[in-house]
Every structure is written in structure tokens, then in C-alpha cells.
């Protein structure tokens, strides 16, 4: 089967961001003043564990950002002269990996690990009798001949999954230890003993054990999700695990693209206001004071609603559903960025005000260094740590903001998978009797994992980069 790559605007931005991050990593590795604090971050066990969890999220998000359109195979012979036809449905690399999970749709709600639907249905038997019952699910536990063996089957599958995961990780870990041992010129056995004691510079013990836990969970989920809906299904019968995984990209995008939009404004305007003073300072200060006194939700609602009107008026510009929801997501990022740059800008201005009186800036002025160069070479690198700290601290806030906005109804496209939409949907589900709790719980668990690890990681980053916290 062949595919046609389909690059959405947000995909392109993510690739751009990825290039930036890689570029920064290369740059940082060549500059001692940047390398040292990062080394400190990577020497903290908790930070490394958090980063490993984060990287699982990120790799899922990245896999979900490679979009493709499937080729529709023509009935009969594939003629060369005929132009290939591609589906209008855009799928991602993640969809291909998840394979069956996407297509395993039931009719409607089902509990996690259920074999039968959640609600009763009227079924007409072969003999014409009408019965009310919980019908069997199409996929959930469909392989079971004897439904009473379900518990046993789940247990066996879980243990198998965990064992497979652990063994795979063990092999991988052995490989890593071997490589590290060769690179540090140590015997692998001695290195292993030191790792066990936690006596290594890089916290290998935490890294390897976190990896083992992640690997076990992932592998168990893979084994189980083939035969069950591990997190149940939603109203239209879609697998909740699949939805939750698809939501990761949305959360990550909001968290990172918003920053990408906001940073140039906040940093350049903040530095300009602080360094140039005078009327420039006045204009920038009034702008952000005015902007920050308008309620953010109001602006966001206005922007999103007007975009919606535009999209309905010009349907021809958006060929696929994915493009429509993508446009809305991008717009949300831009408007979120537009409302949230003021805080960082204010910080930048204050720090620059402090820096412009510092002796080395004065010396640069005395040497006749042009103003633009002073801002770029002297001030910018010295406020970088604040930018970094606020970016990682803001990230989790933005992920949460998306959930709140979608809940209010001005967030991402309702058709798009996002934790906010899942929570929004849960409004009605929670009102049912008996309650449908799994959508909300799944959204909560996934979001919690992302935000918690992001927060832990950003704490470590702040500790390493904030000069006031630096140990002497």
C-alpha cells in the first residue's frame, strides 16, 4: 500500500521547532555556560525520570505529526496512465502503528475490559423473540469462547505483557551498559555494581528503572489492547485509549507552538523596552498593560468564533477535515500566544533595565558597539535563562489551559481528539446513571502524567539555570 505525505501547517511548525531544539542543543553543547547547567539537570535522578516519561509523550506526539493519505487501490488493474487516487482521510504514522486500535469501533459505550456493551439493547432472537440484553462487543473480548474465563485471560495477558516488556528492556539495558562501559573504559560488571549503588554521575539507576516501568506498561498495553478496550469506548464506540493517545499531539502542540508564537514578541519587545527606554518603552509598556487587562478568554472566544465564520464561508480552502481542525488548532496557539506574552515581556524588561547599567554593557557602549549588537550579544544571552525557565514552566499551564478552553467550547475543533474535548464530553457522561467515568479518568491520567513530568522537569531546569538558586 502506498501513501502520499500530507503536511499540515502545524506539522511544518513542529518540524521547525524540532530543528530549533536540535540547533540549540548543538549550540549549547559548544558553550560551557550553557552546558554546565544542563549537565546539572541531567545529573538529577528525578529530572531524568521525568524526561523519560516526557520523551514517551513526545515520541507519540511526533509520530502523530507525520501525516499521510492512503492510496485508494483501484478496482481491477492498476493502470499506469491513470492518476493515483488518494483518500481524503488523513492518517498519521501513529495511526499506522496502532493499526487495528483505530478501527476497533463498537456501537457505543463499553466499560474498560468489557465483553458486553454498557447499555441494554433490544435484540430480536432467531426465533423472533424480543429480548433486552447487553449485547456482545464486536472486538472487546471477542476471542473468548468462555466469558467466565475473562479475568484469567486478562491476568495472563497482563503478566505476559509485563514480562515481555521487562525482558526487552533488560536486553536493551545490557546493551547500553556495554556501550557505556566501553566508552568510560570500565569493566561492565564494575559499572553495573556502581549503577546498582547509585554511584554514577548520570543517574543510570533512575534512568534504567524508569525505563523498565515504562517498557512494562507499554508492552502490557500492547498485548491487552489487541483483544480488549483497555480504557473502554466512548459514546460512538471509539476506543478511549486510542483517543487519549491521539490527544497527546494536541496537548504538546498547544504547549510548544504557543511559546514559539509568543517568544519573539516577548523577548524582542521586552529587551527593546528595557534597553532603549524613552518613547519605545512607553509604547511597549502601554501595549502590554492594555492587552493584559482584557480578559484572555474573551479575546480567544472572539478570535475562534470569527475563524469559524470564515471557515464556513470559505469551505473550498479546506479540503480535508484534518485541515479544518488543524487550522483551528493553529489559530488557538496564535491567540493563546498573543495573550500570554505580556508576562514574559515584563520580566524581560525588568531584567534588561537591571542589565543595562551593568559595567560590561557600559564598557560596550564606551567601545562604540552598535545598539543592536549590544542587545543581541550582551543582553540576549544574559536573559536567556529567564526565557528558558518561563518556557518550561508555562508549558504545563498551557496544556491545562487547552483543556479548560475546550471545555468552555472555544478550544480546539470538537472533532479533534483532545483531552479538553474528552472532559467536555464527560459533562453528560457523568450525569448518566450509572455513570460513564472512564473517558474523564483516561483524560485525567494522561494529562496528569504529562503535566507532572513537565513540572518536575521544569523545576530541575529552573534550579540549574536560576543564578539566585545556584550553589556557590
Amino acid at each position: 500500500m502506498s501513501y502520499l505525505p500530507h503536511i499540515l501547517i502545524t506539522d511544518a511548525l513542529i518540524y521547525f521547532l524540532l530543528v530549533l531544539v536540535v540547533g540549540f542543543a548543538v549550540y549549547a553543547s559548544r558553550h560551557e555556560h550553557l552546558r554546565a547547567p544542563w549537565r546539572q539537570v541531567f545529573n538529577r535522578p528525578l529530572a531524568v525520570a521525568a524526561l523519560m516519561v516526557l520523551s514517551v509523550y513526545i515520541s507519540i506526539g511526533l509520530a502523530d505529526s507525520v501525516h499521510l493519505r492512503e492510496r485508494i487501490s483501484d478496482t481491477g488493474a492498476d493502470r499506469a496512465d491513470m492518476e493515483a487516487q488518494y483518500s481524503h482521510q488523513v492518517i498519521s504514522l501513529l495511526d499506522i502503528f496502532l493499526g487495528s486500535l483505530r478501527q476497533h469501533s463498537e456501537k457505543t459505550y463499553s466499560m474498560p475490559f468489557a465483553t458486553h456493551a454498557f447499555s441494554m439493547e433490544t435484540v430480536i432472537g432467531q426465533d423472533g423473540s424480543v429480548r433486552r440484553e447487553h449485547p456482545r462487543l464486536l472486538y472487546g473480548g471477542a476471542h473468548l469462547k468462555d466469558i467466565s474465563k475473562r479475568g484469567q485471560d486478562i491476568a495472563v495477558k497482563t503478566v505476559t505483557g509485563i514480562l515481555v516488556g521487562l525482558i526487552a528492556w533488560l536486553l536493551f539495558a545490557v546493551l547500553i551498559i556495554k556501550v557505556v562501559a566501553v566508552r568510560t573504559h570500565m569493566a561492565a560488571g564494575a559499572l553495573w555494581l556502581r549503577i546498582k549503588r547509585g554511584d554514577t554521575r548520570f543517574p543510570w539507576r533512575s534512568a534504567l528503572s524508569t525505563g523498565a516501568v515504562i517498557s512494562a506498561i507499554v508492552s502490557a498495553l500492547i498485548v491487552l489492547s489487541g483483544n480488549y478496550h483497555v480504557l473502554g469506548t466512548d459514546q460512538v464506540g471509539n476506543d478511549v485509549l486510542y483517543k487519549s493517545l491521539k490527544s497527546i499531539r494536541t496537548g504538546l502542540l498547544i504547549g510548544t507552538l504557543t511559546t514559539l508564537v509568543m517568544l519573539p514578541f516577548a523577548v524582542s519587545l521586552g529587551i527593546m523596552a528595557g534597553y532603549l527606554r524613552g518613547w519605545v518603552d512607553d509604547v511597549i509598556q502601554y501595549t502590554y498593560t492594555t492587552l493584559s487587562s482584557i480578559p484572555g478568554v474573551l479575546l480567544i472566544a472572539a478570535a475562534i468564533l470569527s475563524l469559524q465564520v470564515y471557515m464556513t464561508a470559505n469551505p473550498e480552502q479546506f479540503t480535508t477535515v484534518a485541515e479544518r481542525s488543524d487550522m483551528r488548532l493553529l489559530f488557538l496557539c496564535i491567540i493563546l500566544g498573543g495573550t500570554s506574552w505580556t508576562g514574559l515581556c515584563r520580566l524581560m524588561r525588568g531584567e534588561t533595565l537591571k542589565l543595562r547599567e551593568v559595567d560590561y554593557i557600559q564598557a560596550a557602549v564606551a567601545l562604540g558597539v552598535p545598539t543592536r549588537k549590544i542587545m543581541l550579544r550582551h543582553i540576549f544571552p544574559n536573559v536567556m535563562h529567564i526565557v528558558l525557565i518561563s518556557v518550561v514552566l508555562d508549558f504545563s499551564g498551557l496544556v491545562l489551559a487547552e483543556a479548560v478552553l475546550s471545555y468552555v467550547g472555544v478550544g480546539v475543533d470538537p472533532a479533534m481528539d483532545s483531552w479538553g474535548n474528552m472532559i467536555n464530553g464527560a459533562r453528560l457522561e457523568m450525569a448518566r446513571e450509572p455513570m460513564v467515568w472512564w473517558s474523564l479518568s483516561a483524560a485525567f491520567v494522561f494529562m496528569f502524567g504529562l503535566v507532572l513530568s513537565a513540572n518536575l522537569f521544569s523545576d530541575a531546569v529552573r534550579d540549574a539555570f536560576d543564578p539566585r538558586l545556584r550553589k556557590r
Partner: protein, 669 residues
């Protein structure tokens, strides 16, 4: 005077850091008697403050710990005391004052409340009695108008007054020992003299012992009975004050004396102590000073020197009994050559320069007044000469320096450089001229961008000139500059934080030299440095002047540096130059009462061999008034000992005593 009060024995205080265990205090022993002033003398980082903190068990924990030793206060080892017992010692038996009065006082409590907090029997005292006691203490430390001061906050007090309040707090518990950790380093010379006097007089009335921690030989010479010289965590020499100054025995002490700048050493190179204090994380197998000692022998590397001599007069050196080699042949001969240099033509003329900062109040930011930081000053700088701008902090000397460079645009007046009026130039025209004037700052830690490589810092001026030189010749130029200031070429590949204060100051100088300037404004370039390092920087500045014909505008408060380096001197007080002339004229025939007071207040080191010069100290009362509200008439009259009624009415006009010597004082007409 012979009652043994404190006996410190083999005290060791170690700090755990990431780079290893720092042996900040490594086995020091000394005693203190009642009523005695013992000075601990040492450069920064030698462990003198840590020793003082150890006595009170105030070592920063958890990193620091007292590893061994005993501190016996009247026979009882207070290091064994629990925290609760220790509280009885702190403040009541041993009190401490710190270097920075600014940060030692709580800014949101009034002075009175803060002192009342530390009264020993505050629970039993009534509100009224406590107040009376605080007022008594404030009066005792020489604060005037105590009833008003009682209700004032720290920011309303001047630096000297704050240090007095700190001393009042220390005296509240009537301690037996007062530890004074660099009590005057943050203060001006005239205020320093006041505080040292105050300590002396309190000591005379109460019989308290003082442990004075300082880096300043002058202070030691003036106030100490006994001197302990610390080096790298150890006491290397201990001697009664007069013996120490007449015959220092440790090579380190001897070198310290020779590194001091002063008038007698004009023209000659100052003796420098090469290298730096070894890191205290090292395990020493020999003498700690060995790397910097020119008399070091094989034995110094291999054996840790023992304590030679008695307890009160001894030294830790293998060669304590050999005399210091005689050296003064070069000194006198060089003086004449330097003085004979004819004054070049004036190339920078500053006339009636005024820099006023508006004070704005209210929502509409209306200007309600001006801080007249620089108020009508004029001077000239000649080619190849050094003009020293002398004054106490807050007198506007730094502002004047920046005004000359147009880093702060002057309010009025003219700065004329070879016929070009700098104050009238546009930003672009000025930028082209910038390279002619450079500046070196006081704080070596703030003057270099921590995010840039040293070679990029040095090349900054070259890049700004846009000479379009190619990479190799740029690199060659950088290396040449680094070598010129005594650094290796490979220093360019490192970041500023890897260098010590003195080395950083050299990098600053290299950066300034890169653009071939005519004039360098040196804004207290050595005041943050230790004596031995200061000598290196002063030597370098002097040599550069001789080689390149640079002119310096040397801003400083340190008269010994002025005596060593300057050709002309201008004395500033509260934004105005009160007296200016050549070095000889100012030093030998000071005409203004303020100049005389300033000269007499500077601590003079009397070395035993010399006949003590008749040294009458003119004591200045009070503090420098605020430049936003200067006194009417002559700015100096409230503190002047010879003021007359006309001094209160008009600011005196300039009187020319000779062609070069001018003064602004009514009494010199």
C-alpha cells in the same frame, strides 16, 4: 591586662563543597586578653571571617563544620556548648559586627526596635526603661539626635550611622569580646576614622577585647595591639603590633609591605606577589606560601614549617631567622625620571560640567528637584599624565567620569577633546570617537560578560570599529593584547568566571587597549582587589602609560594609590572640585580644610624604624550631606572645623594659589 579571656587552640573549620573539602580554617591557635585589640590580617579567602564565625558556632551549615579544636572562654570550651548555652554566649559574652551595615539591619524595623530586640533583659524591662536603655546605647556610639533616630528606619541613616547602630546593638549585651569583621571596609576614610576612634574609646571605658578582622595594614597599624597574619587557613605570623611593623618576619608579611603603593615608591615598580592563594581544597605537603615565595628552598616544598618563636611572637617559616634581603636601590633613582617628564599639552578640557538627575514625584512625574551629582566642575587632562579625582563615596566622582565619556549625557557644560565638543555630537559621530576614550570599572566581576569568551570580549572593540581585518590578524591582535597585560594567549579560549579578580581586571584593560585609546577613565580599578593583586594592576597601568603615552583619569578614594600613580589631583566634595593641583602641591601644601582632613584621616603605616611623623588627625564630624539638598554656602561648612559666618552664605570662588594649584575656600583669599 594579663587576664586570659579567650584561648583558641588548633581550631579547624572545614566546608564541604562540590569540588571537595575546603579547609577554610586549618588549625589556628591564639589567645586574647582583656582590653586587648587583636587584629587578624589577611587577604580575601584566607579564612579570617570563617575563623570569627567558628568562635560563635555560626559556621554556615550543613556545608560547614568545626572539625577539631577548642575555644576556651575563661576556661570553658564553648565549642562543646549546645545551641541553648551558646545563646547565652552570643551577644552577651562575644558580640559581632559585620562588614556591610546595609544588609545587617532589617529594613522594615526602626533602629530603636532592632536594638531593643537584643537587650539582654528585655522581658523584665518596662517599655519606658527599655527605650531609655536604647537611647543610652545610641548616645554611647555617638549618634546625635537619638530621640528622632530611635524611630527612624535603616534607609534614613547614612552608612557610618548604620555601622554605629550595629555597634550599639553589639554593645547592648555588654560583651567581653567584640568581633569586628571588616567594620570599616564599606565606609569612607573620614567615617572609617570616626568608627575606629569610637571602638577605641568604648574599649577604654568598658575594658572590652576586640578581635579586628581586616585586610588593611593601615587599620592594623592604627588600632591593633597584636597582629595575627593569616594565609590560606593558617596563622603564619603572630607578633605585637610595633614589632610586626618594624620587623615582619614571614616572607608573606614582608611582601605585603612592599606591595603597598605609596609616595615613596613613585616611579618604581611595586613588588608583586606572583600567583594567587592556593585553593584550600589541596592537601598541603609543604609550606602554603611556597609557590609565591622567592626564598623558597627544597625544604619548603617538602616539610610543613613548624611554629617558631613564642606564642605571642612567632612565625611559621623555615627561614624565620634569616633577615629579609635589602632592596631599595632602584626605588629612589626611578623617582626622578618619572617626575621629570614634562606635562604634555592639554588634550581634554572639561569646563563647568554639570550632571543633574531630576527627582520626580507623583503620578504626573513632575520634577520636584535635582540631585546635583556633578555641579560645575572643570579640569584638564594632559597627554601622558594621570589626573586623580579623589573624594568620598557619593561625591559624584564616578558620575563625572561617565559624564566625560558621554556614557551619561551631561546637563550642561563642555567636554572638549582636541577641539571637538563631545557634548554636542550626535550618537553616530560620538560612536566614531568612542575609541579614543575607554573605561575600566571597579568591580571585576560585573565588568565582563559572563557569556562570552575572553577573546571575544577583548575583540569587542575591534569588531565595533569594523576595520575589516581578517580572522588571523584579528586573532594575532587579541593574543598580542593578552600578552601585553600579562596573560597567556590560551586565556582567550576560556570564560571570565575561570579567572581571579586581578586577572579579570587585566582582561578589562586589554579590552580597553584594543582600540588604541588616548584616555582611560579608571573607576576605582583596584579597590575590589587585595593588596598583592592591586600591586600587579597598578604596575601594569603605570607601565602602559610609560610605553604608550596614555592619559588616565583615575577615580579613587585611596590616597596611597594616588600618591603612587597620579601627577595631578582634583579633590571632589559633593559634586564640586574643592581643590586641584599637582600631586606635590596637594600632598605637601593642602589648602582646603577638607583636603587636609582627608589626608590626615587616611591610616598611616608607621614602620618601627622610621621616626613616627607628627601626625595630627583632623577629625571630621558628621556625614556627607545629600547631594539633592546640599548645605547653603560652602558645601563643606557643616563639617568644617574652621568655618566662619561667610562660609554659610556663599560658595567660595576659585582662588589660584599658583598657576596650577587652585582652591575654593573663603579662608584662602
Amino acid at each position: 591586662m594579663s587576664d586570659l579571656l579567650l584561648e583558641v587552640n588548633d581550631l579547624k573549620t572545614w566546608l564541604d563543597t562540590e569540588s571537595g573539602t575546603v579547609r577554610a580554617v586549618d588549625g589556628i591557635s591564639f589567645t586574647m586578653q582583656q582590653g586587648e585589640t587583636v587584629a587578624i590580617l589577611g587577604e580575601s579567602g584566607c579564612g579570617k571571617s570563617m575563623s570569627a564565625l567558628s568562635l560563635l558556632q555560626l559556621v554556615p551549615s550543613p556545608a560547614g563544620r568545626i572539625e577539631a579544636g577548642s575555644v576556651r572562654l575563661e576556661g570553658r570550651d564553648i565549642l562543646q556548648f549546645a545551641e541553648k548555652q551558646m545563646r547565652e554566649v552570643r551577644g552577651k559574652r562575644i558580640a559581632m559586627i559585620f562588614q556591610e551595615p546595609q544588609t545587617s539591619l532589617n529594613p522594615v524595623m526602626t533602629i530603636g526596635e532592632q536594638i531593643r530586640e537584643v537587650l539582654p533583659d528585655r522581658e523584665s524591662l518596662s517599655q519606658e526603661a527599655a527605650r531609655t536603655e536604647v537611647l543610652r546605647l545610641l548616645t554611647a556610639v555617638g549618634i546625635s539626635d537619638v530621640k528622632r533616630r530611635y524611630d527612624e528606619y535603616p534607609h534614613q541613616l547614612s552608612g557610618g550611622m548604620k555601622q554605629r547602630a550595629m555597634i550599639a546593638m553589639a554593645l547592648a549585651g555588654s560583651p567581653d569580646i567584640l568581633i569586628a569583621d571588616e567594620p570599616t571596609t564599606a565606609l569612607d576614610v573620614t567615617i572609617q576614622a570616626q568608627i575606629l576612634d569610637l571602638l577605641k574609646s568604648i574599649q577604654n571605658t568598658t575594658g572590652m577585647a576586640v578581635l579586628l578582622i581586616t585586610h588593611d595594614l593601615g587599620i592594623v597599624s592604627q588600632s591593633a595591639d597584636r597582629v595575627l597574619v593569616m594565609y590560606a587557613g593558617q596563622i603564619v605570623e603572630q607578633a605585637p603590633s610595633d614589632l610586626f611593623f618594624s620587623r615582619p618576619r614571614h616572607p608573606y608579611s614582608q611582601k605585603l609591605f612592599r606591595a603597598l603603593p605609596g609616595r615613596g615608591k613613585r616611579g618604581a615598580r611595586l613588588e608583586v606577589i606572583p600567583g594567587a592563594v592556593p585553593p584550600l581544597t589541596t592537601q598541603f605537603s609543604g609550606c602554603r606560601f611556597v609557590q609565591r615565595c622567592e626564598r623558597a628552598q627544597q625544604i619548603c616544598h617538602e616539610t610543613v614549617p613548624a611554629w617558631h618563636g613564642e606564642n605571642n611572637w612567632g612565625v611559621r617559616c623555615h627561614f624565620y631567622d634569616t633577615e629579609e634581603p635589602v632592596r631599595n636601590a632602584s626605588e629612589t633613582s626611578a623617582v626622578t625620571t618619572a617626575e621629570q617628564k614634562s606635562p604634555g599639552e592639554a588634550f581634554l578640557k572639561v569646563e563647568s560640567l554639570k550632571i543633574h538627575f531630576p527627582i520626580q514625584k507623583g503620578i504626573l512625574r513632575r520634577t520636584v528637584g535635582y540631585v546635583k551629582a556633578v555641579d560645575d566642575i572643570s579640569f584638564e587632562i594632559n597627554k601622558g599624565r594621570t589626573l586623580a579625582l579623589v573624594g568620598e563615596s557619593g561625591c559624584g566622582k564616578t558620575t563625572a567620569g561617565k559624564g566625560v565619556l558621554q556614557l551619561i549625557r551631561p546637563t550642561a557644560g563642555s567636554v572638549n577633546y582636541l577641539g571637538k565638543e563631545l557634548t554636542q555630537l550626535s550618537r553616530g559621530e560620538l560612536r566614531a570617537l568612542r575609541r579614543q576614550f575607554q573605561i575600566i570599572f571597579q568591580d571585576p566581576y560585573a565588568s565582563l560578560n559572563p557569556r562570552m569568551l575572553v577573546s571575544d570580549i577583548v575583540a569587542e572593540g575591534l569588531d565595533a570599529l569594523q576595520t575589516g581585518i581578517d580572522a588571523t590578524s584579528r586573532q594575532q591582535k587579541i593574543n598580542a593584547l593578552l600578552e601585553k597585560v600579562g596573560l597567556n594567549a590560551e586565556a582567550g579560549l576560556r570564560y571570565p568566571h575561570e579567572f581571579s579578580g586581578g586577572q579579570r581586571q587585566r582582561i578589562s584593560i586589554a579590552r580597553a587597549l584594543a582600540v588604541d585609546p588616548q584616555l582611560i577613565v579608571c573607576d576605582e580599578p583596584t579597590s575590589a582587589l587585595d593588596v598583592s593583586v592591586q600591586a600587579q594592576v597598578l604596575n601594569l597601568l603605570k607601565q602602559l602609560q610609560d610605553d604608550l603615552g596614555l592619559s588616565y583619569l583615575f577615580i579613587t578614594h585611596d590616597l596611597s594609590v594616588v600618591e603612587y600613580l597620579a601627577h595631578d589631583v582634583a579633590v571632589m566634595y559633593l559634586g564640586r572640585i574643592v581643590e586641584s593641583g599637582t600631586l606635590q602641591e596637594i600632598l605637601d601644601h593642602p589648602a582646603h580644610p577638607y583636603t587636609r582632613a582627608l589626608l590626615s584621616a587616611a591610616p598611616v603605616i608607621t614602620r618601627g624604624g622610621d621616626k613616627p611623623v607628627a601626625h595630627e588627625v583632623i577629625k571630621l564630624e558628621g556625614d556627607i550631606p545629600s547631594p539633592s539638598d546640599p548645605p547653603r554656602g560652602c558645601h563643606f561648612h557643616p563639617r568644617c572645623t574652621v568655618a566662619e559666618s561667610r562660609c554659610r552664605k556663599h560658595f567660595p570662588e576659585t582662588t589660584m594659589l599658583t598657576t596650577t594649584h587652585s582652591v575654593r575656600c573663603h579662608l584662602q583669599k
